[in-house]
Symmetry: C2
Subunit: 289 residues, 2 copies
């Protein structure tokens, strides 16, 4: 990506034969990178007024159309909010947004677009941390719906951008209770909808093996934390009352007795990018592992 | 939600005792609904110019501050893009966006906000559909990275907004091949990062039981579709070359031989909302099922 948002293009000259009726003109267009799907990505950086932006944008789209480009992405930092209205009036729509930027997109060809969908799910983790005495790590939270109820629960949290599920569970346990631990298995997961406006949730219950035992609770979020016999946790009326928690307790009790296998972790690579990613599967069933 | 974006509030009168120095004034504020976390949600509907919007917004925030509100959400349809710059200048930032709207958010109290994070993951499905002859359903796609390579693959697709993973797998198989099927298990899943700008992917491999057998391929996306002996699929050099696909093939072969258990489905309810959601777990290990 160029540091400047503007570059020069010989718009006519690139694709048309130079004849008597065709003249080369050099004009300013927005600097863009190609994406992997026949489109271009513009990362706006420089402040400009919206009239200047509109002329640049029109020239750029004419240029990209000549080049046969399909999708046009503009990543617009929130500081350049003055340009959003102009982009929308030129035919861009919202694709996604984060705190500091808005991603706008436009489709040049005729016909339906193949713009990929936005992210639809938040991902959470709950940690079942069982020590050798058959006690599990439980907490009471200072905020949220269980605040002040005296109900003990699994440590839970949200998977951060770019974080692996297995790492998120270990991190949350460390943050909330000070306990070091090692990921063992995903025991179960739940999908729920409309948890946050139109977005869905995927919640993974992970079994972790504790590597330390002295609890140091997080002051900001955690009211209390302790090791508790698993049967005592299971006997809480709140757990008994809720189908989901009863099922999870059945899983945890079976796991404690060695009768349950969840999904273990395999690091593997895929395809074109050759990037490593984690595959979760029932490794105990595979002879080759 | 009121149909009008504007309502009247007796801003001073609601919370202050009426004394000699305090006067009740009625002023216009934006119509808002309370959320479950001490904040308010404004759904903008009416076109207005940005000066009028700024005065309304300032009066509204003063009003909500008096009421002790925390987060303020504004759902701004793309038609009202002319108001986005004004909202940002009044201290709002972007939370998320979809094609037709931008969700802006502002935090009234001093101190760190507890605004929940945006969705971080797209969710995909792949379908392992095995018939009684030991043949699996495979396709060649008309677009994407495998286009024109002659490589046979599982039917795959993206989980739509609000859709369950189990339903998405059945839907994709029906759309791409015309085959009716029934969800059996999640065999494995993969998490990968930066698949789409900063967003991550969760990809669930589902086993489905076919309920019909005559293939009618989707013209728009599918080049070819057929039932193929599982060993023939596995022998493709592309499958052999990639760690991820080799692992998945081991899983599918073990499943075919009855040696593998993935996660089955339990419909259950949780907690306050009492809404049904699906829990995926190794049901074969639980005696109570």
């Amino acid at each position: 990506m160029s540091g400047s948002a503007v570059s020069s293009a010989s718009a006519a000259g690139e694709q048309l034969a130079s004849g008597n009726e065709v003249q080369d003109v050099t004009m300013k267009v927005l600097a863009a990178e190609n994406d992997d799907h026949g489109g271009v990505i513009v990362e706006m950086k420089e402040a400009m007024d919206s009239e200047a932006f509109v002329s640049l944008l029109r020239a750029s789209i004419a240029h990209w159309r000549q080049q046969g480009k399909w999708g046009v992405w503009i990543k617009m930092p929130i500081e350049l909010v003055n340009l959003v209205e102009a982009a929308v009036k030129e035919g861009f729509w919202y694709h996604h947004a984060e705190r500091k930027y808005l991603m706008l997109v436009h489709w040049i060809p005729e016909g339906p677009n193949t713009i990929p969908p936005n992210a639809t799910h938040r991902v959470g983790v709950g940690a079942f941390v069982l020590n050798e005495k058959g006690e599990m790590l439980v907490v009471q939270e200072k905020s949220g719906q269980l605040r002040g109820t005296g109900i003990w629960k699994f440590p839970t949290g949200v998977v951060e951008e770019g974080e692996d599920i297995c790492d998120a569970a270990v991190r949350e346990v460390k943050e909330e209770t000070g306990i070091d631990s090692k990921f063992v298995e995903v025991l179960a997961f739940r999908q729920s909808h409309k948890s946050f406006f139109e977005k869905s949730d995927l919640f993974f219950v992970c079994m972790l093996q504790p590597l330390s035992f002295d609890i140091q609770k997080q002051e900001s979020e955690i009211e209390a934390a302790q090791w508790m016999p698993i049967e005592e946790y299971a006997a809480q009326p709140f757990v008994q009352k809720h189908g989901l928690l009863r099922y999870l307790m059945d899983v945890c009790l079976a796991k404690k007795d060695g009768d349950y296998s969840g999904f273990t972790l395999v690091s593997t690579t895929f395809s074109f990018s050759n990037e490593e990613s984690y595959l979760y599967l029932n490794g105990g069933c595979l002879k080759s592992q």
